[in-house]
């Protein structure tokens, strides 16, 4: 029994299981739903086992092929990986449930399952990778499968959005690969931990870091490199938008965090302040654009541009006394935004199905017509704004606290303004739904599973507000280089 538990919690399963599922859905498209559901449940089980194992026994290092670094590739799973894996699994559960019903009428169902399981496998592989070149391959897998998912919607907007996304994504990963080449040229290792022990603040390292950061910022859609995001996230099928906004942009951000924590040779304040400034600009610009949108999905896409900005506020706070608070805050932010935004996109999908459109000012009567969806929309909106009780509230609270404690009050101003703007655009949607306007004649039934999936994710975002302590305990497992960075006064 114990042997089985150990075998099941091996990190490789979190990658192998969805990958096998993806291949099987290709082989057997008529049974794609069955295979997809089975793969989803199995993946959830192995990720749960892995997370529990990390929580209990600490950092896991797994030498794929038995070689170990420097020659082989190691999987590396610490608390940070565990948190991202768990968030991914939570969103994946909701999206899979939703996908069961959403694509039913459409001939693209089998491809949805194949591509979606590919994204999931690639995300898990990315969060578990301890090797900078292997990270490049996972990054390409994530990007390519995400692009194909966007294009599933068909039509001009989705196809052009997907193609622009692909081209941008290729530039981003090429830039990252260039950094890998330079780092390997200088240090002849690819393992992140070994690299971290060797890095020196020389020209090659800084240029490599700049190339990798630029590429990853492009892939994370940090202002002003966000130009591709609204078209792709807005035009994709609703569950795909949920995956993109909830998870995919966080994958490249996760690599940024890893690089920052483990590979930056010395603490210099300028890059952190620059990233923070871009983040602040993203918050303001994205929120204002969200306010101006006519369509709900585009509003949510611009809201993602804004929320990505908050993530980058961690960098100016990461080398101060408040570093630990800031890091917990940003992880909380990643989790709550992943759950809330995916819930909101699923709600948008329901509204699209119910009304046949998603024009924000014509959603009258939604509260009565689709009460579950509307309730989920409200809950997720609360978390997005950062009102209590929700994960979004705790996240923003922690970030504001960190900014105050480190004496950088200007970030507080930005965050409060951002919350105010978010409240404005969320209530713009909710308000129209509350007022019982004329409901258009053509309405379709929303399957209970679709409303339920949105509600589950929204509830998750709320419950997250009570999980800050366990998340911090998980985060501290193997927290990179506590002694050197991020912890010292």
């Amino acid at each position: 029994m114990i042997a089985l538990a150990v075998a099941v919690s091996c990190p490789i399963w979190a990658i192998v299981v969805p990958l096998v599922g993806a291949a099987l859905t290709m082989l057997w498209p008529r049974r794609a739903t069955f295979v997809g559901a089975a793969a989803t449940l199995t993946t959830l089980a192995v990720v749960t086992a892995l997370t529990a194992r990390i929580a209990q026994t600490g950092v896991q290092r797994y030498a794929v092929g038995g070689w170990g670094a420097p020659l082989g590739i190691d999987l590396y799973a610490d608390g940070l990986s565990a948190i991202l894996l768990a968030i991914t699994a939570a969103v994946a559960a909701g999206v899979s449930l939703y996908g069961l019903r959403y694509f039913r009428a459409v001939s693209v169902l089998a491809y949805f399952w194949t591509l979606w399981l590919f994204v999931w496998a690639a995300l898990n592989a990315l969060f578990l990778s301890g090797d900078i070149f292997n990270l490049y391959v996972t990054l390409e897998l994530v990007g390519l499968s995400a692009v194909a998912l966007v294009a599933l919607a068909g039509g001009g907007a989705a196809l052009t959005g997907a193609l622009r996304y692909l081209l941008v994504s290729l530039v981003g990963s090429a830039s990252y690969l260039l950094g890998v080449a330079l780092l390997y040229g200088q240090y002849a290792v690819l393992d992140i931990a070994s690299l971290g022990a060797q890095v020196q603040p020389d020209t090659v390292t800084w240029v490599a870091m700049a190339a990798m950061f630029a590429g990853l910022m492009l892939k994370t859609a940090l202002f002003p490199l966000h130009f591709w995001l609204p078209a792709a996230h807005g035009a994709a099928p609703a569950p795909v938008s949920a995956v993109l906004s909830g998870l995919v942009v966080k994958a490249s951000f996760y690599i940024l965090v890893r690089l920052w924590l483990q590979l930056f040779p010395i603490a210099v304040p300028a890059p952190g302040q620059l990233l923070g400034a871009l983040g602040a600009a993203a918050i303001l610009w994205g929120s204002i654009q969200a306010l101006r949108q006519e369509r709900l999905k585009m509003l949510l896409a611009y809201s993602t541009v804004a929320q990505i900005g908050y993530l980058f506020l961690v960098f100016p706070l990461a080398d101060t006394v408040a570093a630990q608070t800031a890091w917990l805050g940003v992880l909380m932010f990643i989790a709550s935004h992943a759950l809330a935004k995916s819930a909101l996109f699923l709600c948008a999908g329901n509204i699209l199905r119910y009304y046949g459109h998603d024009r924000v000012h014509k959603l009258g009567g939604a509260a009565r017509g689709e009460p579950v969806t509307f309730f989920a929309l409200g809950l997720a909106g609360v978390s997005l704004i950062g009102l209590p009780p929700s994960g979004g509230f705790i996240a923003k609270w922690l970030l504001i606290e960190a900014a105050m404690a480190s004496g950088q009050w200007w970030w507080v101003l930005v965050m409060v303004t951002g919350a105010f703007l978010a409240a404005t655009y969320v209530f713009r949607v909710l308000g129209d739904g509350l007022i019982s306007g004329t409901v258009s004649a053509r309405r379709q039934v929303v399957a209970p599973g679709m409303a339920g999936a949105a509600l589950l994710l929204a509830l998750g975002a709320t419950v997250l507000g009570f999980l800050a302590v366990p998340m911090d305990e998980l985060r501290q497992i193997g927290w990179p280089l506590v002694a050197v960075r991020g912890g010292q006064p």
């Binding site: 390409e140 290729l170 080449a181």
Partner: protein, 103 residues
Amino acid sequence: MNPFLGYALSGVLLIGIGLYGAIVYGHLLRKIIALNVMSGGIFLVFIALARRAPGVADPVPHAMVITGIVVAVCASAVALVLSVRVAVETGQAALPGDHEDRA
């Protein structure tokens, strides 16, 4: 004399040329060609640096570049198919806001 530096600098130029083309040109095939020129430059830097090993070349970058070449052709194939679909839907082989430049 070890020619690695010359080849590596040539690779840097390829990266620059590819990046410029990918940003400036609107026609989708041109963008895709430019991206492939860019990744060719990256591979060139990679392989040139592997040539610095005394006697033999370092095989690890060779393996990584073979992986990179396969990934690049896969991404390009998807991009090309998408480009044709975009042209069918929108009537031009460029993204909205870009021009087809010269055919």
